[in-house]
């Protein structure tokens, strides 16, 4: 019913959602970072395929940014941060992995229902990309909510941004300036977060974000 082009785009976008679930499943920090790099690589493939399928050469730049920045630079830097903080053995989850997975499935179903109802007029490729990218965004948010370790929260944030890029490439006609500024802001955010991590660590001797709540006087 659809061409091969649609099938490959679907495969890659589906792979992105799958890697989001793999992120939720991991409970070791190094494995988490490796999966995050894998997700960025899948994003690179997906964006590059969109560039080819839509005939939009500027998307190749987006793909290259995703590959260099997300798949190589940021995971590498996070590896170094984790090694320097000496926290490579711990990840805690709230409510256990099974419940998180179920919540994630619910979010994917929700985003599909919402997007497919909301965009009946758009092109199939764009609709499908939007549905899957919204699920990646929601899964990233879920990751930020369920994890207590600050480093995994950063990974959740970054994977959320991967979903945004997928949405941006699916919607035809997003200018390159926007892409580059998003990539740049992510890098800045990453640097700020990196500094914060060390500050939190220096102040509280841990990167568990529960400690921040108790410090502010909230009951946890």
């Amino acid at each position: 019913m659809h061409g091969l082009s649609f099938d490959i785009a679907h495969l890659l976008a589906g792979g992105l959602v799958l890697t989001s679930f793999m992120l939720l499943y991991q409970d070791r920090l190094y494995a988490l970072l490796n999966v995050f790099a894998l997700q960025a690589f899948v994003l690179f493939l997906s964006v590059a395929w969109q560039a080819y399928a839509q005939g939009a050469p500027h998307l190749y730049v987006t793909a290259a940014i995703a590959l260099v920045l997300k798949a190589i630079v940021i995971p590498g830097a996070l590896h170094r941060i984790v090694a320097r903080l000496g926290i490579h053995r711990e990840v805690e989850t709230i409510g256990g992995i099974g419940l998180t997975m179920l919540a994630g499935i619910g979010l994917v179903a929700l985003s599909m229902v919402v997007i497919l109802r909301a965009t009946p007029a758009a092109a199939p490729l764009a609709r499908e990309d939007l549905a899957l990218s919204l699920s990646v965004v929601l899964l990233g948010l879920l990751m930020m909510v369920t994890r207590r370790n600050a480093v995994s929260q950063v990974v959740g944030f970054m994977s959320m941004e991967n979903g945004l890029i997928l949405a941006g490439t699916g919607a035809q006609g997003m200018p390159l300036v926007v892409e580059i500024s998003i990539a740049f802001s992510v890098l800045i955010a990453f640097i700020v977060i990196g500094i914060f991590l060390f500050q939190i660590r220096e102040r509280f001797d841990t990167v568990d974000s529960r400690v921040l709540d108790t410090f502010r006087g909230e009951r946890s």
Binding site: H2, L4, F6, D7, I8, H10, L11, G14, G15, V17, L18, F21, Y25, I97, G98, M101, G104, I105, V108, A109, M112, L116, P124, R127, E128, A131, L132
Partner: protein, 318 residues
């Protein structure tokens, strides 16, 4: 005449699975031994074991009920029927109309239920542990299996294995992420169903870890032989199922001649050798997981199946 030919092919199929099952088990053991640089028992050792067990006397526990004696036959029958429903080397067999994925899952599920009952029946503590663990695995593996069935049925529009294999061979299949997810989930469920290494070790008699062995600890003689044969059949069945759905090339279609049937058998044997080798390779390269880690493993399989269904739903509704 056509009926007789069909009957002959179906009969060949049923005998073939029965005769090949211990050989497959022996082959996997042999390859595993070789990978560990041991010589290992000979390929036909499982047949020898079965023959010896058949000759031996049955020892029954004092407080075992009639159910305990009946269950090995029930398990063996259910598994054999399920195994002979799967199209191994030919599609369009006489019983193909009933070769439904849900029916096969149900047959295996009832065999598992009876085995758990037998574990509880003799009243030993090991049997109880084994039965409760087996049921824990089952409650997670069967929903995952059903999600896989849903994914395949949504794609092919049928749960019958012959139609499914035909659909996989047709060019309209395309490139589907859901199929990949279903394959991975099916592999995980298959490992759990057969009690292979990350879930359960088929070669262990260590109290803390055994699941399947704990349930059949009280059996002896011909009962044990039947249960062992049923376990081998189940392994063959699962492998044939995966092969039939995901690599259906070489299946001889309905109404083909004798030569094509033989080619089908040869291709099937080749696939079994490949599958058995991969299984042995996987088992030697991974450690067994803790029992309480199993729900996560199977939860991931369930999640993959669900995700496959959801993604399929998106691409179909566009």
């Amino acid at each position: 005449m056509v009926l007789i030919a069909d009957l002959a092919v179906q009969g060949t199929e049923m005998l073939l699975v029965l005769c090949l099952a211990p050989l497959l088990t022996g082959f996997v053991r042999k390859v595993k031994a070789h990978l560990l640089r041991r010589r290992g028992p000979s390929l036909i050792q499982p047949y020898r074991d079965l023959l010896r067990l058949l000759r031996k006397e049955v020892v029954l526990a004092d407080n075992a009920s009639w159910l305990f004696c009946a269950i090995p036959y029930l398990i063996f029958a259910a598994t054999w029927v399920a195994a002979s429903l799967v199209p191994t080397f030919a599609t369009g067999l006489l019983f193909s109309w009933s070769a439904d994925l849900i029916a096969i899952t149900a047959l295996l599920g009832s065999a598992r239920f009876f085995l758990a009952l037998a574990g509880l029946d003799a009243g030993t503590s090991f049997g109880g542990i084994g039965a409760s663990r087996e049921m824990m695995v089952a409650t997670l593996a069967e929903p995952a299996m059903l999600m896989i069935v849903f994914t395949l049925a949504l794609l092919a529009g049928s749960t019958q294995l012959s139609n499914l294999a035909g659909f996989m061979l047709s060019p309209q299949i395309g490139l589907r992420v859901s199929l990949g997810l279903a394959l991975v989930a099916l592999l995980m469920v298959a490992l759990a169903e057969n009690g292979r290494i990350p879930i359960d070790n088929p070669a262990t008699h260590l109290e803390l870890t055994m699941v399947h062995e704990a349930m059949v600890l009280e059996y002896s003689g011909r009962h044990l032989a039947l249960i062992e044969l049923a376990a081998s059949l189940k392994l063959l069945l699962t492998l044939s199922l995966i092969v039939c759905v995901f690599i259906p090339w070489g299946l001889s279609p309905a109404g083909s001649g004798v030569a094509e049937r033989f080619i089908g058998i040869a291709v099937y044997l080749l696939k079994l050798v490949l599958g058995g080798f991969l299984l042995a390779l996987f088992e030697t390269s991974i450690a067994k997981m803790r029992v309480f880690r199993v729900p996560q493993f199977l939860g991931a399989a369930l999640m993959l199946g669900l995700l496959g269904t959801l993604l399929l739903f998106v691409s179909r509704s566009l």
